[in-house]
């Protein structure tokens, strides 16, 4: 594809599990991300969903080179990020930024809003000191922070306002890609809506490519163009947001969608829930074959041995399941 902006090729991120103090020996591997390939266009919003431990956060961190991939390549705007080192990587970081879940932990409590944003603006380019206040003010306006808040410290803000500061800090270097890892999960419902609207507006206006990581399907459905569903380090379904939510293909996506409570008593009481058995297995020794087969009600013997590939079943909608034709 000519207009691919971000490309992942068979990305794997494995963490060794070691034991022993003097003689460290490897007792296993956590395959947090295990062979993910993905194409994103500029300005696209991808929702990355899955349950805890599925590897969605690790994938986000791997794309940003906060964790080096064990295998595979990450290509952003024609540059292979995982081959960059030192200064090159530092310079490249101006193109991609991250927003974290907890705005209480990700801001320096001893820095005012001005200091935080000015540091971010000055980190990648020289800005004359006289211009700085205007730049900071422009950033604050962009994320909806009142100008009088410029000299305040993080503790003087509510959770939603802090998340706005974190978003402003990410925007300070004018990045092209932002990865937001559960940016609204720590916020109250009425504040969530404000932040979701802000992120949607920014991605539209600034042609930002946004990867929105969340466990909350209804939030992701709202903001994303496409959704990728992860299970045990692999993408099991990928497609347009509305299709994945309303016409899910993969048995896991179906169960996940049916487990999300709908705030409508009539619909909620009538619908059939697909109840999964047990918990997600440990990524340290994932089951062979299809990672979902031990919890899948459609599993047959073949699912235990053959690893399904992510194939297209409807236009733009892919799923990794060998029995898809029979069960849909």
């Amino acid at each position: 594809m000519p207009d691919t902006f971000l490309e992942l090729r068979h990305v794997k991120t494995h963490f060794p599990v070691e034991r022993g103090i003097i003689f460290r020996r490897r007792i296993g591997t956590v395959k947090a991300v295990d062979g993910v390939s993905l194409h994103l266009q500029q300005g696209e919003v991808l929702g990355l969903v899955g349950e805890s431990g599925c590897g969605k956060s690790t994938l986000g961190r791997t794309i940003l080179q906060l964790v080096p991939p064990t295998e595979g390549t990450v290509i952003l705007a024609g540059r292979t990020l995982n081959e960059l080192h030192g200064t090159e990587l530092r310079q490249a970081r101006a193109d991609f930024q991250m927003i974290f879940q907890d705005p209480y932990a990700s801001l320096n409590p001893r820095m005012t809003v001005y200091d935080t944003l000015a540091e971010a603006i000055g980190s990648h380019r020289q800005v004359p000191a006289v211009e700085m206040p205007a730049r900071v003010a422009a950033l604050m306006q962009k994320v909806g922070l009142p100008p009088r808040a410029i000299k305040k410290y993080p503790h003087e803000f509510s959770g939603g306002q802090r998340q706005r500061i974190a978003i402003a800090r990410a925007l300070a270097v004018e990045p092209k890609l932002i990865i937001a890892d559960e940016p609204v999960s720590a916020l109250d419902v009425s504040i969530q809506a404000q932040i979701i609207n802000l992120l949607a507006k920014l991605s539209r206006e600034m042609q930002l490519t946004l990867i929105f990581i969340s466990h909350d399907l209804s939030v992701v459905k709202h903001i994303a163009d496409r959704i990728a569903v992860m299970y045990l380090g692999k993408i099991v379904e990928l497609g347009p947001a509305a299709d994945v939510f309303e016409k899910p293909l993969h048995p896991y996506t179906k169960a996940l969608v049916s487990a999300v409570p709908i705030p409508d008593p009539e619909r909620e009481r009538q619908r059939q829930r697909i109840l999964l058995l047990g918990d997600p297995p440990s990524p340290m020794n994932p089951p062979g074959g299809c990672p979902f087969h031990p919890r899948c009600s459609h599993a047959v013997v073949e699912c235990k041995t053959s690893v399904p590939s992510l194939d297209e079943f409807r236009p733009g909608q892919q799923a990794a399941c060998i029995r898809l034709k029979e069960i849909s």
Binding site: V189, S190, P261, I262, P265, D279
Partner: protein, 325 residues
């Protein structure tokens, strides 16, 4: 009627002043009924439950007034001995984080039989039999073996099942659940909700379910209380809360949830943030954020009043028919 709470007031005395966390809450709960309490953080939903259970640390907390009649006993006034006989026997509570509610040093076995040994004075061996049966009932596989494990050997969902087994082992009449599924994945949350529904049907137990998730309330509760800044602002049967909101806050809350919106449409947002409970505004606490606020909303406090049969609101303007939501 199983529980009748009247004008409960709980405050915390802090350096920043007196935080009126619960400020005049009244409700009744029938036997076998499921009551949902929804609200955002700081709305007083948890403090209400903690007050009823006698779990407010005093100081800094203080129960300023009110009554919580459970049968013919006022839970707010009875002594620690009496409370101990009720808690864990006739009223049980489960919490959000199962890991911090289980003792990491004790086997599940010892923690499960504790309520039985205290409340029923039975032999350890028969208590263990009941504990195994209780674990099987909540769907812990291999219960006879797993009962010898420690909490860290269980996953989050399994730990929450252990908590539920522990809370229900004495067959209480009332279960208070403080966001027990918030820390869990949605597929596990669905399992736990089904489980509690099933146990409730079998035993006719009443449940108070505290949550911020309107979706959970919709599928699970008979009646709902919506709380804001320490007060109940609306109380109604679940259907009515969703289909026919009578308080601007409830309506705004529902409008701002992505699940109910057309995709891509801008989400409705409530301007501003909840008030500081140590410096609550005069009059209706929601007025500064309310699009319908008029002068009289800022003048005096509005008590919760029935607008229709079983459906109460704390909004002047709705009650006087000035606005339609």
């Amino acid at each position: 009627m199983l529980l009748k709470v009247t004008n409960l007031k709980t405050s915390f005395h802090t350096r920043n002043g007196v935080v009126r966390a619960v400020d005049g809450v009244s409700f009744v709960l029938g036997a076998g009924e499921t009551l949902g309490i929804v609200g955002e953080s700081g709305s007083g939903k948890s403090v209400t439950c903690y007050s009823i259970m006698g779990l407010i640390p005093q100081p800094p907390g203080r129960i300023e007034g009110g009554q919580a009649m459970f049968g013919d006993m006022d839970l707010l006034r009875c002594g620690p001995e009496e409370l101990r006989r009720i808690r864990g026997a006739r009223i049980s509570m489960i919490f959000q984080d199962p890991m911090t509610s289980l003792n990491p040093y004790l086997r599940i076995e010892d923690q499960l039989i504790e309520p039985l040994l205290i409340h029923e004075k039975i032999e350890r061996s028969s208590a263990i039999k009941r504990a195994i049966a209780a674990l099987e009932e909540v769907g812990v596989p291999d219960a006879a073996q797993r009962i010898r494990s420690y909490p860290h050997e269980f996953s989050g969902g399994m730990r929450q099942r252990v908590m539920i087994a522990m809370a229900l082992i004495t067959k209480p009449q009332l279960l208070i659940a403080d966001e027990p599924t918030t820390a869990l994945d949605v597929t596990v949350q669905a399992q736990i909700l089904e489980l509690i529904k099933k146990l409730q049907r079998e035993r006719g137990m009443a449940v108070i379910w505290v949550t911020h998730d309107l979706g959970v309330v919709a599928g699970f509760c008979d009646r709902v209380l919506v709380m804001y800044a320490g007060r109940i602002v609306e109380s109604a049967p679940t259907q009515q809360i969703f289909k026919h909101p009578l308080h601007p806050y409830n309506r705004a809350l529902q409008k701002s949830i992505p699940a109910l919106q057309a995709k891509g449409a801008e989400l409705y947002t409530i301007p501003g943030a909840p008030p500081d409970l140590a410096r609550k505004p005069e009059g209706c606490a929601f007025a500064p954020r309310c699009e319908f606020a008029a002068d009289k909303c800022r003048a005096g406090e509005m008590p919760l009043k029935e607008a229709e049969q079983g459906h109460a609101t704390a909004c002047w303007r709705v009650l006087d028919g000035e606005i339609k939501l």
